[in-house]
Amino acid sequence: MDSTVTTVAEENVWGGGNNKPLGASYGKMMIWFFIVSDSLTFAGFLVAYGFARFKFADSWIIADEVFTHVPFFHGSYPMYYVAFMTFVLIISSVTMVLAVDAGHRMDKKKTTWYMFLTVLGGLVFIGSQAWEWATFIKGDYGALETKGGRIIQFQAADTGERLALKDFAKTIPGERVNHERKNGVWYYGDKALPSYSLNEVIEGVKADPNVVVRVEQLTERGEKTVLSREDSVKKLDEAVMVVEGANLIHNEYGNRLFADLFFFITGFHGFHVSMGIMLNIIVFFNVLLGTYEKRGHYEMVEKVGLYWHFVDLVWVFVFTFFYLV
């Protein structure tokens, strides 16, 4: 029994006392164990994405066609904005590690500044992600969905450019209008109607010989299959509804699992970033108030830093598997 009795002063026991297995303090070891377990959670999610992707290997979404927007710019710029987001997160990781370094040298002023910049980087990242989500939810071109949940998209036969529903859909008067809550007493509104009804889209395709259908199936070269004009018109018989944008049930870009996993994984990561920002703000104020100065060491900056770097680490993988591969 003697061997289990700690000889350090009572108030130090909570911090693990002076026993430092593997040369790491209690708090640092625990944050590392948390990171290990959290990395397994993220790995589980990303592997689930891989599972869905391998299962639908010949019809999966081409990410370059989905994330093509940059704020304040029109046109198609795949990748640029996510690359910017990745860079912002790496930079905020660097300011964090500089804060840890300044903390080791007990430099309160520099630690404060670097913590502030880290928080700023985190906010820019989370704002970018919110914008990315909003763009993804709003949708791009619009599409039709078949009974089996497959997506039918449209493009011009001559140029091969994608066509939005508004480019060719007919306006047929006398169609149903969206019932809003203000129009009824006991009827509480209905789902938002798409901009065009199924009939309007189908009639539009039939009237314009330049519109052809793209289906989810990939060709040998890894591009979406484009049907001939005849097959395109025939394919319309399978359509049951108009889809604009993406949510957890419908996804105009293609396989709905892509949208589900996108929301789930980037959402879970964004949640981690938000928590990281909160922790960083708390540490920032503690540095400012001199808490760690009084404690004699800035280890808390290092521990929160480890979490923040982990969030960056996860993003590196999310970036690869959602946007690059």
């Binding site: 891989g50 599972f51 290997a57 930079i91 590690v97 060491h297 830093g305 960056d312 690869t320 591969v325």
Partner: protein, 127 residues
Amino acid sequence: MAQEHKLAIFRGRWKFKSNIQKIWGVLILLSVITAIEVILGIIKPESLVHSHFLGMKLLNWIFIILTIVKAYYIAWDFMHLRDEKTSFRRIIVWTPVFLISYIIFIMLFEADYIYNVLKDSFIAWNF
């Protein structure tokens, strides 16, 4: 909290004078890798997209390897794993590496099997 930092990367081939210099050096390295990834992702060179290794595009292999390289430098230099005791580092790194490799193997194998079931058997899913 005087802590010693190992100030060399690339197995000692690139040495730094101080910890701060090392941080900026690693940032440059990570930025260059990210830039290569983005450029490859935009250009998509024909030769890499249409050649395969173990059933995956060569380009995707490059992306995954570069990602792991990036992860290595984030963990080793930003998270100071380079300065931890070897035994501690091994516990942290090899446990998830083993478990994650295993789940990747079984899940992707299973997914490929389901892909073949959907493709070859009498299940209609594309209607």
